[in-house]
């Protein structure tokens, strides 16, 4: 299985679909890290480096979007979703403009840079902006599909991307895969518990399902690539058909995927729920794998949550 960081696939997708002249890309002095440089190499006249000024970048992108452009604005998640939050909310969200905020380096697997750069709040924040579509692909093929969907769907998007190279789930970058905004992808069926995962926790959850299978527990695994609008139908079906749900995200357990799933379950189909994620803590410096272990995001952690959920049914 191949490996590629979703940020790298993002750059490839921009370059692949960039012949659409409505597309304009903005960056804030991080174009090699966000991979918007891949687009810049092919379409330099439609790539704008705005310097280290993320708030301004978002408002400029909003202004350009009012003229009919499809604007992509990229920086690290911490600066896109938090430094520039109010610009995203008031200049992009409120007027419902066609700006795709594509944020890389989300979560703790940023690694050595530490807590100041590890964004574990963005899903919760972006989800709370009315009209914002929030997407987190888990591999190269789904990143390509997410960017294609963002281009084809009018309105503000927040696309959450990672720094770390991750294993392919759907195939190679470029493979056509089923991908509909707001529709979870069923990756594995099971009857005892459903693991609803997003981002690199999809890979961890598939591995967890294998661990569980060896113990005689069959787990359904859903790739919840769209956090908003959330796939209510798939969540309700998970509750009714498997009776226990585990959420898995590289994000604070408050307000993100776990929060969104809990809202749907408690309103429509209550069942046992366990949330795997960062347990309301800031990150810290370290190698990504060491942090995955320290913060409880390994396949074994997901499997343990599933066991606990099944036992509590």
């Amino acid at each position: 299985m191949g490996k590629m960081a979703t940020r790298e696939s993002y750059g490839k997708a921009l370059a692949e679909f960039g012949s659409d002249e409505r597309i304009v890309v903005f960056d804030a002095d991080l174009s090699k890290s966000t991979y918007t440089v891949t687009f810049k190499k092919v379409f330099p006249e439609r790539h704008f480096n705005m310097g280290i000024a993320e708030g301004n970048m978002m408002s400029v992108a909003a202004g350009m979007a009012t003229t009919g452009k499809i604007c992509f604005a990229s920086t690290f998640a911490i600066f896109a979703a938090e430094r520039a939050l109010e610009q995203v909310r008031n200049s992009i969200g409120y007027p419902h403009l066609n700006v795709k905020v594509c944020a890389t380096h989300a979560g703790i697997t940023v690694g050595e840079d530490g807590a100041s750069h590890q964004c574990v709040e963005d899903l919760a924040i972006m989800r709370a902006i009315p009209g914002m579509t929030v997407v987190q692909p888990c591999d190269g093929a789904s990143t390509r599909a997410a960017i294609k969907a963002a281009i084809d769907t009018y309105g503000p998007f927040y696309v959450r991307l990672g720094r770390l190279a991750v294993e392919n789930v759907y195939g190679e970058y470029g493979d056509e895969i089923p991908f509909t905004i707001g529709k979870a992808n069923l990756l594995r069926n099971g009857k005892d518990v459903t693991i609803i995962a997003t981002g690199l926790m999809v890979q961890q959850s598939l591995a967890a399902a294998k661990i569980l299978e060896a113990e005689g527990v069959t787990a359904r695994v859903l790739d919840m690539h769209t956090i908003k609008p959330i796939d209510r139908e798939a969540i309700v079906a998970a509750s009714r058909e498997t009776g226990a749900v585990v959420t898995a995200e590289e994000h604070n357990i408050l307000g993100g995927l776990g929060g969104a799933v809990a809202e749907v379950l408690s309103e429509e189909a209550p069942c046992v729920l366990r949330r795997v994620g960062v347990r309301d803590l800031f990150g810290q410096s370290g190698k990504p794998q060491a942090l995955i272990e320290l913060y409880g995001l390994t396949p074994e952690d997901v499997a343990a949550a599933a066991r606990s959920a099944v036992a509590a049914k």
Partner: protein
């Protein structure tokens, strides 16, 4: 500045540079370029100027420092270690799991770090807050801060600058580490800064331009700033990114890259040569 002091500071700086490179090499991660460009400024502040006490890192009367360009944490850590705030071998754990030396300065865990930074543009604003508190409480402490030139692109820097002049913060002395480079290349290609001295003058600051690798010039500027009344001072320090390591000097590519073993050994050999020349 007498020769003896200058030699002592040069030694402090070369030892800092060695620690910076050791830490980044071991972590295989970090920002050597900008750490090496502000080393001499930090060597002067911690090796000579600032009234700080490693035995009492939170002394309310101490001089305060904010590394607004927080990615250059290894420069701050090495300056603090040599001043006695913690053992220099703490840098061995730089950026690794469980070490107190986080990738960016963290005031909750590291003795001597006065402010957590890492998000560019915010540090200078927090330094303004510290200087305002000094005025409010009639303290004699001074507040120092170091900014990157790329960092000046953040609007918050100018909001903070306006506030510093408005509140007549003559107890605040800041430096721009003017190395001309940021991540995506030279400042002028990424987002032109125009005349930095003119901009700060227009914002009401007293402005001094110096060679940021000359200890006598750094000292003269800091002393001049102390004599200025009713205005904050910005020292525009002309520097070289990667200063002290020949192959890193003025190279944007060394902004955030760690040396491999061969590069590390070459760099340390260069610094050792400087060290032994100074030691005789």
């Amino acid at each position: 500045m007498n020769k003896e002091t200058e030699t002592r500071l040069k030694l402090y700086a070369v030892r800092m540079r060695k620690l910076i490179l050791e830490g980044i090499y071991r972590a295989q991660s970090g920002h050597p370029g900008g750490s090496l460009s502000c080393t001499d400024i930090l060597a002067y502040l911690y090796g000579e100027k600032m009234r700080v006490n490693p035995e009492k890192p939170e002394d309310p009367d101490r001089d305060h420092f904010v590394l607004s360009k927080g990615h250059c944490a290894p420069a701050l850590y090495s300056a603090l270690a040599l001043r006695g705030f913690f053992a220099p071998d703490e840098l061995d754990g730089l950026r690794s799991c469980g070490s107190m030396l986080q990738g960016h300065p963290c005031m909750s865990h590291i003795p001597g770090v006065d402010m957590s930074t890492g998000s560019l543009g915010q540090g200078i604003a927090t330094a303004v807050g510290m200087a305002m508190a000094g005025k409010l409480d009639n303290k004699t402490y001074r507040v120092f801060s170091v900014l990157g030139d790329g960092e000046l692109q953040e609007g918050e820097v100018w909001e903070a600058s306006m506030a510093a002049a408005h509140y007549k913060l003559d107890n605040l002395t800041a430096f721009v580490d003017f190395n001309g480079l940021q991540i995506d290349g030279p400042n002028e290609t990424v987002m032109g800064l125009g005349s930095i001295p003119d901009k700060f003058r227009a914002f009401g600051w007293h402005v001094i331009e110096i060679d940021g690798h000359s200890f006598p010039e750094i000292e003269a500027a800091v002393t001049e700033a102390e004599g200025v009344k009713g205005q904050p001072t910005m020292i525009i320090a002309h520097t070289h990114k990667g200063m002290g390591v020949s192959f890193m000097k003025d190279q944007a590519g060394w902004h955030g890259a760690a040396p491999n073993t061969e590069q590390y050994e070459t760099a340390i050999a260069e610094l050792n040569a400087v060290l032994s020349a100074l030691e005789v």
